[in-house]
């Protein structure tokens, strides 16, 4: 009887230790880095913390040409009868105009997807933030390696 007890407690101790070691890294990493690295995003958030879930920002990992990079934003429903997506903002880490676009939905819609083509002045991280009708914030980020920059800074 004493042997299984000891095994159990050691396993528990290891699991707890492992969880403690990983916990601070997993959820907190991406957002802290993004908010710190993108001034316009930090200014918009003004201390509020978005949840990095429920939202997807699709960009190619590698873009040969920064002049037109296909982009897709998806916010997962269902929304009705709860809060709906009011606005989605797109922030760039390196473009001279960091507030790339704002998409607004004055009327609730069940399917929230926005596709466009964006310009990227170099390899960088892009972050999309959705504001819900109850002011909750969701966010998603994506990294794009750009081989030929969009000609945006006159260089």
């Amino acid at each position: 009887m004493r042997i299984p007890d000891r095994r159990l407690s050691r396993r528990r101790a290891l699991l707890a230790g492992g969880a403690l070691a990983i916990a601070p890294w997993l959820p907190a990493r991406a957002d802290d880095r993004d908010i710190a690295n993108i001034a316009a995003l930090a200014a918009f958030l003004a201390g509020r913390r978005p949840r990095w879930e429920r939202m997807r920002l699709d960009l190619p990992g590698l873009a040969d040409n920064g002049q037109a990079v296909p982009m897709k934003i998806v916010v997962d429903g269902p929304f009705a009868p709860g809060p709906y997506v009011k606005a989605i903002r797109l922030f760039s880490q390196r473009n001279p105009v960091p507030e790339m676009a704002t998409f607004e939905f004055p009327v609730a819609v069940e399917r929230v997807e926005v596709d466009s083509r964006i310009r990227l002045a170099g390899t960088q991280r892009i972050v999309a933030v959705a504001t819900m009708s109850d002011e909750a914030l969701f966010a998603a980020g994506a990294d794009v390696v750009v081989t030929i920059d969009a000609c945006m800074d006159g260089t």
Partner: protein, 106 residues
């Protein structure tokens, strides 16, 4: 001057979201480029696009030089009544463009 191509379904089931695609012909000049003589080319981008559905604004987009030339957007609108989708946009020079599309709700 600025024209656009719009794609909406001819028929949309009531209460369901339907897909809207719009492509506006516009250079989206960033303001960071120079011409052959080295003179800066002034910024001129489509700054605002709105989509009204039977008069009610259902989607709008504020754009920047970070959006590619000939801006393309795809989004969804909830089908309520048969009628008209009106798209209006304006650029930095104040030039306005507009386009209409009709949708039949079944």
């Amino acid at each position: 001057m600025p024209d656009a191509r719009i794609s909406v379904p001819q028929e949309a089931p009531r209460g369901k979201p339907f897909e809207v695609r719009i492509l506006i012909r516009h250079p989206m000049e960033t303001g960071y480029r120079t011409d052959d003589t080295g003179k800066p080319i002034p910024r001129n981008v489509v700054t605002m696009l709105t989509c009204r559905y039977n008069g009610e604004t259902v989607f709008s987009a504020r754009l920047s030089p970070g959006i590619a030339a000939n801006p393309y957007l795809r989004f969804f609108v909830t089908a309520r009544e048969s009628g008209e989708l009106a798209f209006d946009w304006v650029d930095d020079r104040g030039v306005r463009g507009s386009e209409r599309a009709t949708v039949t709700v079944v």
